[in-house]
């Protein structure tokens, strides 16, 4: 959808940030791409959005986006959540950009919590909003000490966390933000995506950029880069599984959300990625979209 003229605000530079700032962020991104998984500091700016709502992703998007790009914004898997709607509206307003809800149509996808189920292509860039870029944060409270461990590639502490989980609960209990080793060198936080999405980062065709506005760090996973989720030889990494398929499209291969459905105690599992779900339903019954299909 291309915004009409009265939707676009005058008086702003293209994509809100001034050109010098965008250059600064791009330089940091270039460095991040050169050292996959390494956190690069950047001069995070005040954005017209509270820190923690995706200011990092917003600045990365604003720096790499061009007038011909088509933007998709995801929050919790859906394009209709508050954060997604307001960020999409923001770029329509300050950049006059075309936006879409379709993963296939987008050239740039800014997301929080999810990576689309539809495989990405070499033409696409994925921008993730990261609240806490430091995967060792909970284990090594001092930033300088954590950076030293990164420099030494000394990630024993992270394995201790996995060890403790298995000793106590019999399995690793991290459901989201499951740490990954990028290109066999840097430990990185995949941002709070469910660990279900971790395998999508491995050898992904798309460039993934991670921006943390409050923490003033960004990092990247270039296309076709090895991304391994940490595990033990005898306790291999596993993704979440469900005993049912999506109640709407029947998919058994996508990440499911449990939602209430009408009556007291009634609940069902549906795809978290609404675009994927809709596309599947359309493919099986083309008439439904016309009848106003979507999330109930």
């Amino acid at each position: 959808m291309i915004p009409n003229d009265d939707e676009v605000a005058g008086g702003y530079n293209f994509a809100y940030l001034d050109e010098q700032t965008k250059r600064m962020v791009r330089r940091a991104i270039l460095k991040a791409v050169c050292i996959p998984g390494h956190q690069v500091p950047f001069g995070s700016r005040e954005m017209p959005l509270p820190a923690g709502w995706g200011t990092g992703g917003l600045q990365v998007t604003a720096s790499v986006i061009g007038p011909d790009d088509v933007l998709k914004v995801i929050d919790q898997g859906t394009d209709a959540a508050t954060n997604a709607v307001s960020i999409r509206a923001f770029f329509r307003r300050v950049a006059g950009l075309a936006t879409t809800e379709r993963t296939r149509e987008a050239s740039l996808i800014q997301t929080r919590h999810r990576i689309p189920e539809t495989p990405l292509t070499e033409e696409q860039i994925l921008v993730l909003q990261v609240p806490q870029p430091e995967p060792l944060r909970q284990l090594v409270p001092r930033g300088a000490a954590a950076r030293r461990l990164h420099a030494f590639a000394d990630y024993g502490v992270m394995y201790v966390k996995l060890y403790e989980d298995i000793a106590r609960f019999g399995r690793v209990t991290l459901a989201y933000d499951y740490p990954v080793l990028v290109n066999g060198r840097y430990l990185a936080s995949p941002s709070p995506i469910p660990r279900f999405d971790n395998p999508k980062l491995d050898n992904s065709r798309a460039l993934s950029l991670f921006g943390a506005g409050r923490e003033r760090r960004l990092y990247a996973i270039p296309p076709y880069t090895r991304v391994a989720s940490l595990d033990f030889g005898d306790h291999p990494f596993e993704v979440q599984r469900w005993s049912v398929g999506c109640a709407l499209c029947g998919s058994r291969a996508s990440y499911l959300d449990e939602i209430g459905s009408g009556g007291p105690g009634a609940r069902m599992f549906v795809c978290s990625d609404t675009d994927y779900c809709e596309e599947r339903r359309e493919a099986s019954a083309p008439a439904r979209r016309a009848a106003g299909g979507g999330r109930p």
Binding site: D154, G156, V157, A167, R168, H235
Partner: protein
Amino acid sequence: MSRAVVLRASGLRKVFGGRVVACADIDFELAAGEVVGIVGESGSGKSTLLRCLAGLAAPDAGTVEIAIDGGERVDLWQLDEVARAQALRSALGLVHQNPRDGLKLGISAGGNVAEPLMVSGIRHYGRLREVALDWLERVEVPRRRIDDLPSTFSGGMQQRLQIARSLAPGPRILLLDEPTGGLDVSVQARLLDLLRSLVRELGVAALIVTHDLGVARLLADRLLVMLRGRVIEAGLADQVLDDPQAPYTQKLVASMLRI
């Protein structure tokens, strides 16, 4: 002595603030399987020396050579930071006076023992578990306490756990800083007994810093006596304790309580 030298310090010097000489002209060697004690009063430079040897503080002059895998010796303070960390990790274990400094109190006993192994690259839970259980047994911590936090352990148990943690990766050199400080006498005796048998059994070279001459006599083959940052007397433990030459050593030995 024909055994291979695993640690050699020569001309070691450390000065604080340009005027407080903590260590000066320290030369000694530690051979494989040997136990050397460093005794001296508070402020004599024992701990500073140990910190220089353990890679915690850079000396102002002199060299510290340690034997790494393959038997060759490297100069610890000539290595870059990454290589130094790696050399220290594989070759050297450090036991702090206070077990809280050497242990991580927020993770279980098993995790504490297994951590250095995970750092060195073991990625098999079952194997880590096995090694941890084995080590708990060797230091006489009950197997069933493996998933308990060290903060629930007694002081003596914490100290034994710390020893297990430092020995688990199989270092050639063990540095101990007042390992029996803060423990009561009966627990001390048990710990010393354990240390002695472990050191003999594993053949690691140990350097024990202590102000307790009883500990030194019980464990050490050789003794270095330090005063104001210098080694004033060195020799076989019995020789130094039974026939001290330096006036300070004579006083030190004379001040020992005899029961």
